[in-house]
């Protein structure tokens, strides 16, 4: 019998089919499935629940990790971690996808140029190539040509980074802005901090706030610590807690926060300060402000005369004359009735707080606005009180070194660009994808001229794309990981967890890489950091902490209340009696905290020139004088006072030629906050809750009204053009959005790796804005025109 190809296939099919059918014992259809399906895997192994800490943003939430047979299966919130207690944000959930990411960088590698292929090499070889460059620069006294940009702003590794740079001799350490910088600077100018060399940070007691005026913070899109803010949001609306906390959102964009607030007040772009002053006007005119606070503990409210006899305008007269309701209404586009109503509600009960503005690489967060907002807190007496705002000492992880300081941390893009101008030789990008996102092509060209760029990213991302040397870090689940009170969090907190699984491949915790680098670079550096690994460094640091006689190891909420009661009255029941006990407790419970950090008595002592809260900041005045803001010999005047008192200034430079009728309002969506996470498929699928599961590319949000007028359909591609350049984006139509405002997310498709996609960055078209006081520049709100592609 001749068997042709066709016959063979027919025959084979018959045999297979018959055999398969025969195998089906006619008892159950499941056998058919079995026959068709690949067999299930071998037994999976032992199941364990371990603790860890999330490293995907600086919030550092506590994690509960399920492993089976040494593989990470699921990540959830640690119920006894005080910051997030059980809950977790979507980013933390995707640690599994990051750990087992197909584009993980599993070994150190180098290449001669960015268009050349990577060559993997041993850690010793790779580190030596970096160490020899560092040695050479140090020999030539050019340490300042080394700079580091880091995305970890808190914790011991972050401290080690800046301290290492300082010991090495470089001044250039840049970190991710926390978003609170401007608000904190404003509070420092007005309320003052002790000049004792210690670090202070601004904290909000939002858990106890009853009425929140939110000036532009994207509370539900990554502000602060996402899981913490979400927990707070749930508490504000928890009927069991009694009275609901009211959240009022001011901002032009219909953000998730705006949509989920009790009231969205769609003020015009850049008018947050004016809005705050309008509310202040009502509080003052209707005599609703906190008299006892303002009279006893504030300075500059009434008109005053300085030592030279010069009369100054008081805040009261300033606001009453300059920020009449009609004017504020005109600036902000909000009706007087709304302003009056909100002001009355704000003053009606204790626990009112005004927060904002947010500062980020795309949000300007101007000082004058921030001061107007802090002035509102002073008017209702919410400085250092329950539910209010305060400046509290920052303890954090001690770095137990004999000498040396940390290099000054900077979060200013301006400062960074200035350094890039000075032909740096080594740039270390540590978790710094956020930084690349905020650069435009011209900046990227500057980066391309740097001879040695090092990336520590554990997975291919925007930094590894620029780098010629890879020193792959591992994820927080693969190493000892620490946590620290996140920004704005009102309590002292230190957390530490051991590795959940060993590092994948040949990746290494960045802290340990730094310690090794110190050893290889210089014996002098080695003597500063005598630890062989991070565990021994943590141990030394924890020993120092154990001697601070306060605080408790993590516990339940009952423990929390109990401890707070004891401590408020001056009692402390220690959880440990020795360094060893402290260490064991720290590692087993996952951390230490002081639930009574928050001031238990109103903070009415201010470290300002006047010793009071200053509506007219004399410290800011001195700073301006120093900067030459006022000519020598010129007498202070009312015109001068205008610059010091909280005020409104037009934000948008007059860069809008004909036809640029839209205002582009950039923001960072939750999934890309801080710039990372672009490579994670699960996050790409949920980029925006507005339009369901989609993703993998950038978009702009346009109000339905505008889209309709322009005849633009959902998902249509358009050009977005500014005075600088133009880029293409898809349109997402936002029902109910403010006409004339175009929301634009920072971040988008991955720029490298298997899912890379070429997209022009948003930074291309953004026109930078600088704050006149702080000099902080950000890419921000820009006038654009939009037309179909």
């Amino acid at each position: 019998m001749r068997l042709g190809r066709r016959e063979f296939i027919t025959l084979a099919g018959g045999v297979a089919g018959g055999a398969a059918l025969g195998r089906v014992s006619l008892r159950g259809i499941s056998r058919l499935n079995e026959a068709l399906e690949p067999p299930s895997a071998l037994y999976p192994g032992e199941e364990q629940w371990l603790r860890s800490i999330c490293s995907l943003c600086s919030g550092g939430c506590g994690l509960k990790v399920r492993t089976v047979g040494g593989r990470v299966i699921k990540v959830d919130g640690n119920p006894i971690y005080p910051v997030n207690r059980d809950g977790i944000c979507p980013r933390g959930q995707t640690l599994t996808q990051l750990i087992y990411h197909p584009d993980r960088i599993l070994a150190p590698a180098h290449r001669s140029a960015i268009d050349q292929p990577w060559e993997t090499s041993s850690w010793d070889q790779t580190l030596e190539s970096l160490a020899s460059t560092l040695r050479r620069l140090r020999g030539a006294d050019q340490q300042n040509r080394v700079l580091m940009v880091s995305g970890r702003s808190r914790g011991l590794t972050s401290k080690l980074c800046s301290h290492f740079l300082s010991s090495y001799g470089s001044n250039h350490f840049f970190e991710l802005p926390s978003g609170m910088e401007t608000s904190q600077r404003a509070l420092e100018f007005m309320a003052g901090i002790p000049n004792d060399g210690k670090a202070y940070r601004m904290a909000y007691d939002l858990e106890n706030s009853r009425y929140i005026l939110n000036f532009g913070c994207d509370l539900l899109e990554g502000w602060g610590t996402p899981a913490h803010t979400m927990r707070l949001f749930g508490q504000w609306r928890d009927i069991k807690r009694g009275r609901r906390t009211t959240l009022i959102h001011f901002g032009p964009r219909l953000s998730v926060t705006a949509a989920r607030s009790d009231e969205w007040v769609p003020v015009e772009v850049g008018t947050l300060g004016a809005m705050a002053l309008g509310i202040a006007f009502v509080l003052i005119s209707e005599d609703l402000y906190n008299r006892s606070f303002v009279e006893s503990f504030s300075f500059g409210f009434e008109d005053w005369t300085d030592r030279s006899g010069q009369a100054h305008m008081g805040f009261r007269r300033w606001v009453r004359e300059e920020y009449r309701l009609s004017r504020v209404s005109e600036i902000t586009g909000i009706s007087s009735e709304t302003i009056v109503r909100i002001a009355r509600e704000f003053a009606a009960q204790p626990g009112s707080i005004a927060i904002g503005p947010q500062q980020s690489p795309v949000q300007p967060g101007r000082l004058s606005d921030a001061m107007a907002i802090q002035a509102l807190n002073a008017l209702v007496g919410s400085i250092g009180t329950r539910g209010g705002v305060s400046l509290i000492p920052e303890f954090g992880w001690p770095l137990p070194v004999a000498d040396g300081n940390e290099t000054m941390r900077t979060a200013s893009l301006d400062g960074l660009v200035a350094v890039l101008d000075q032909s740096p030789e080594v740039l270390i990008l540590d978790q710094a994808a956020w930084f690349i996102d905020s650069l435009d092509d011209a900046h990227l060209d500057m980066l391309n001229r740097i001879p040695l760029i090092v990336s520590t990213s554990p997975v291919e991302d925007a930094t590894s794309k620029l780098a010629t040397l890879l020193l792959p870090d591992c994820t927080s689940l693969e190493s000892w990981t620490d946590g620290q009170s996140p920004s704005a969090y009102p309590y002292d907190l230190i957390a530490l967890t051991p590795p959940v699984i060993p590092p994948r491949g040949d990746s290494r915790p960045w802290g340990e890489t730094l310690l090794a680098l110190a050893r290889m670079t210089d014996p002098a550096l080695e003597s500063v950091y005598p630890w062989k690994d991070m565990e021994s460094l943590y141990r030394a640091s924890a020993n120092e902490l154990s001697r601070r006689e306060n605080g408790y190891l993590f516990g339940t909420q009952v423990d929390e209340q109990w401890q707070r009661m004891l401590e408020r009255s001056g009692w402390w029941n220690p959880d440990w009696t020795s360094e060893d006990e402290f260490w064991d407790g720290l590692v087993n419970k996952g951390g230490w905290w002081d639930p009574a950090t928050w001031v238990s008595e109103p903070q009415h002592s201010f470290q300002t020139v006047s010793g009071k809260f200053e509506f007219f900041s004399q410290r800011l005045e001195a700073l301006l004088r120093e900067k030459g803001g006022i000519q020598p010999g010129l007498q202070p005047s009312v015109e001068w006072d205008r610059q010091i008192l909280p005020h409104h200034a037009d934000i948008l430079p007059d860069n809008a030629p004909e036809g640029f009728e839209w205002t582009l309002d950039p923001y960072e969506p939750l999934v890309f906050f801080g710039g990372a996470s672009r490579q994670i498929p699960f996050l790409q699928q949920i980029t925006s809750p507005y339009s369901g599961p989609r993703g993998w590319r950038s978009w702009i949000e346009m109000s339905a009204e505008d889209a309709h007028r322009m005849g633009i359909e959902e998902d249509e591609t358009v050009w977005v053009e500014s005075a600088r350049s133009r880029i293409q984006r898809r349109v997402r139509i936002l029902e109910g959005g403010k006409p004339g405002i175009v929301g634009a997310p920072l971040g988008g498709a991955p720029t490298t790796g298997r899912w890379a996609r070429v997209e022009s960055t948003l930074a291309e078209i953004l026109v930078p804005i600088s704050d006149p006081y702080l000099g902080v520049r950000s890419h921000a709100t820009t006038r654009v025109k939009i037309y179909k592609a």
């Binding site: 019998m1 066709r6 016959e7 027919t10 025959l11 099919g13 018959g14 045999v15 297979a16 089919g17 018959g18 055999a19 398969a20 059918l21 025969g22 195998r23 014992s25 008892r27 159950g28 499941s30 056998r31 499935n33 079995e34 399906e37 067999p39 299930s40 071998l42 037994y43 999976p44 192994g45 032992e46 199941e47």
Partner: protein, 179 residues
């Protein structure tokens, strides 16, 4: 024209033959498959002697460490074996093989013998601890086995599961087992 017709008819015939052929093959294979002894023999890296070990006083849970508190029974790791066999304790050739593997640091790659069908959730804990079912019910008398079982003792079919569940008054809800 006629040629073409002829050709077509030939092709038709060929097609008919092919179908017939396939049909015959199908029937033959079907019958063969029905009577073919279905015993895929499983070969383990070490010819482990359960009888000896149990006689020496080992409990099931010494090696199958997980069965009392998880869905899975667990298989012994090289470390577990090394606890006793770091040095040879008998003159068995299988032990010599084991000691050799241990000294080379090779992992013990046991092959799984019992396997529930896909989409079925089976928990050792539920059956052995909560249901108090003897191991031997599903695995046979391991204390009589001198070599690893080459095939499952219990046939993991839905009928067998259901029968047992009905006998013992256990749930026969689909959701109780299917995942």
């Amino acid at each position: 024209m006629a040629d073409t017709v002829q050709q077509e008819s030939q092709e038709e015939n060929a097609g008919h033959r092919n179908r017939l052929l396939a049909g015959k093959a199908f029937v033959a294979a079907f019958l063969l498959a029905l009577i073919w002894p279905f015993t895929p023999s499983i070969e383990q890296p070490i010819q482990y002697n359960h009888q000896k070990h149990i006689a020496a006083g080992l409990e099931c849970s010494n090696c199958h460490t997980l069965y009392e508190n998880s869905a899975w029974a667990g298989l012994p790791t090289a470390d577990a074996c090394a606890a006793c066999h770091a040095e040879p304790v008998t003159d068995s050739s299988e032990e010599a093989k084991l000691v050799q593997m241990l000294s080379e640091g090779k992992p013990l790659e046991w092959k799984q013998v019992n396997r529930v069908p896909n989409h079925v959730y089976f928990s050792h804990k539920t059956h052995a601890v909560a249901g108090e079912i003897e191991c031997a019910t599903c695995h046979g008398k391991m204390d009589e086995r001198t070599a690893p079982p080459p095939a499952p003792f219990f046939e993991w079919s839905m009928d067998n599961c259901i029968n047992c569940h009905e006998d013992r008054n256990a749930s026969v809800d689909c959701n109780a087992c299917h995942r």
